[in-house]
């Protein structure tokens, strides 16, 4: 909990006064060299992906993969991505947005309510409930995908939006995060003052609790949003109808055609993959602070 707070209030550690001389130069250059080489490993594939979106399908098979060659085909690739197969790609993006925004919004609200209740009310079985939530954090979503399919199949939720949306609305990690944050940042005195003023419990939650918990709720939303956006196995199992599929499932469907004959060419799959991550990269860069607070909450568990 201390980490959560310290990273929130002080994202970077204050620099210690420069009393001592900087470390010897050779080790500093060595560090820089090692980090540089490792960052090439992490960045080069993404660079390859970006460069490849500018190539025609045939140019992909010749020349240096890490540099531009042939005519600049980005615009025609984009055009093909968005019009291929009766313009199904934009539909996949919209489906993903629906699953990710809908699922993350509901799960954030539900987590806020549950986390607040666990932190701010004393009742019998509270610790048991919290321990179940903690255990559920460790249950990986993909392991649940087959069981969910088995359960949803007889009740006809398979191949519907709900088959993916309902499991996306639950986030034990969100409840965990909301609870530790509510315990740390919503003072009991404020709640008590609200009660003295005659405000109902729901009103106190909505006006005091939600507002004070909002930084943690952004983190919960972000993690759930990215989790749903990235999810593959569950929607792949649930949704046979490609009109309902999110972009991850659609993309792999295109890739599975292996670029043979009339199949979707590699250049289209590559460009479609690159386009699909743009919203995530934007969120990732603009909400970095919340990423770190969520991850450090994980590390103090």
């Amino acid at each position: 909990m201390t980490t959560l707070q310290s990273t929130r209030t002080a994202p970077t550690r204050p620099a210690t006064p420069a009393r001592r001389p900087a470390p010897a130069h050779p080790s500093r250059w060595l560090t820089l060299g090692v980090l540089g080489i490792v960052s090439v490993y992490f960045l080069a594939p993404v660079w390859w992906l970006l460069v490849s979106t500018t190539k025609s399908n045939s140019a992909l098979f010749s020349g240096n993969g890490f540099w531009f060659s042939g005519r600049f085909a980005l615009l025609s690739n984009l055009h093909d991505v968005f019009t291929r197969q009766g313009a199904i790609y934009p539909r996949w993006l919209l489906n993903t947005a629906l699953y990710a925004v809908g699922g993350a919004a509901v799960s954030t609200l539900v987590s806020a309510l549950a986390g607040y209740a666990l932190a701010k009310y004393a009742f019998r079985g509270r610790e048991t409930v919290f321990n179940i939530v903690l255990a559920a954090v460790l249950v990986p979503q993909p392991l649940l995908a087959v069981p969910l399919y088995l359960l949803f199949s007889p009740v006809h939720l398979v191949n519907t939006y709900w088959g993916v949306l309902i499991p996306s609305m639950v986030s034990p990690f969100g409840v965990y995060l909301a609870r530790i944050y509510a315990a740390a940042s919503v003072p009991d005195e404020l709640i008590e003052a609200g009660r003295v003023d005659g405000a109902g419990e729901v009103r106190i939650f909505a006006t005091i609790g939600l507002r004070l918990m909002s930084p943690a709720l952004v983190t919960v939303f972000l993690f759930q949003f990215v989790g749903i956006w990235s999810n593959y196995l569950l929607p792949a199992l649930m949704l046979a109808d490609d009109k309902l599929q999110p972009v991850t499932v659609g993309l792999v469907g295109w890739q599975a055609q292996r670029g043979i004959g009339d199949a979707v060419p590699f250049s289209i799959v590559i460009t479609a993959a690159a386009v699909s991550v743009v919203p995530l990269i934007v969120m990732f860069l603009s909400l970095q602070r919340f990423w770190r607070s969520g991850l450090s909450a994980g590390s103090v568990k």
Binding site: T3, S6, T7, T16, A22, T31, L32, S39, Y41, F42, L43, P45, V46, F61, G65, V110, L113, A114, A117, Y121, A122, F123, R124, R126, L138, P140, P142, L143, L144, V146, P147, L148, L150, L151, I166, M169, V170, D188, I191, V202, F205, S230, Y232, L233, L251, V252, Q255, A256, R258, A273, S276, V277, I281, W291, L295, S296, G298, S299, V300, K301
Partner: protein, 308 residues
Amino acid sequence: MSTAATTHSTPTTHHARRRARTAAAFLLPFALLFAVAYLAPIGYTLYQSLFKMHRDGLGLSAPTKVFAGLGNYSDALHDPVFRSSLLRVLLIGVVQVPVMLGLALGLALLLDAKGTLFKRFFRLAFFLPYALPGVVGALMWSYLVAPGLSPITSAAHALGLHLDLTSGPMLAPTIGNMLTWGWTGYNMLIIYSALQAIPPELAEAARMDGCSALGIAWHVKIPIVRPALVLTTVFSIIGTAQLYNEPAVLQHVAPNLSSNYTPIFAAYNAVNDNNFGYAATESVILAALAFVLSFGFLKLVGRRGAAL
């Protein structure tokens, strides 16, 4: 952690009961969804795993469901295909998890060290793969290793080497690489956050005592971030158990990749064959193994790591 009812003096039983009701109401939406998305599928899967589909000899009438006790379990444990999928994932995990976590720890320590330049840039660069969905990362790597497309293969060719990263013996290293690429940054950030929480005075004091940078890392920093290392290891064990996306995507450029490559593959195939009981059994066995391995690891590292 103090709460309203315990810190404030003598709440009347009436108030206490009403607040308990409010708490229950606040918990209700989560409880309902949790029941539908966690408890029910787990319970139903356990139940399903006890039944087999019985087909008559000619396959003319619809198959009937018959109680099989632990029959599916004994079938699955004797099924060479399922067993080799478990073994394969175990081997990948035994090699890949230590490599990835060693790299993550090393990078976190280098980023945390005093005087490292461009920290912000490196942190972003290492974390970028985690921002991509696993499937998109896998798709990208599948093309980076696909014969014909792969810039790696063509570079090796230019050096006079024959390298096919999608050939049988190279599949496991290729998948291990995809996992390492995708998850090192995430683990690094967890460890790095724990390192950042160490008071700077501690390292400073060790430095005053003549401890080298390496010595500080080994004697001061690593012991303190031990809980983060334990946590990332448990997460990685669980993550490896559910290995699916990477081989599933790689399969489309590596046709010799078995369609029962990992246990989840096997369960997925059983679902497609409408053999739900068997799919349920395989899921239960996999979950049980993941559970045993993670808790076995926690026991192994002792209470000091598990307590946090």
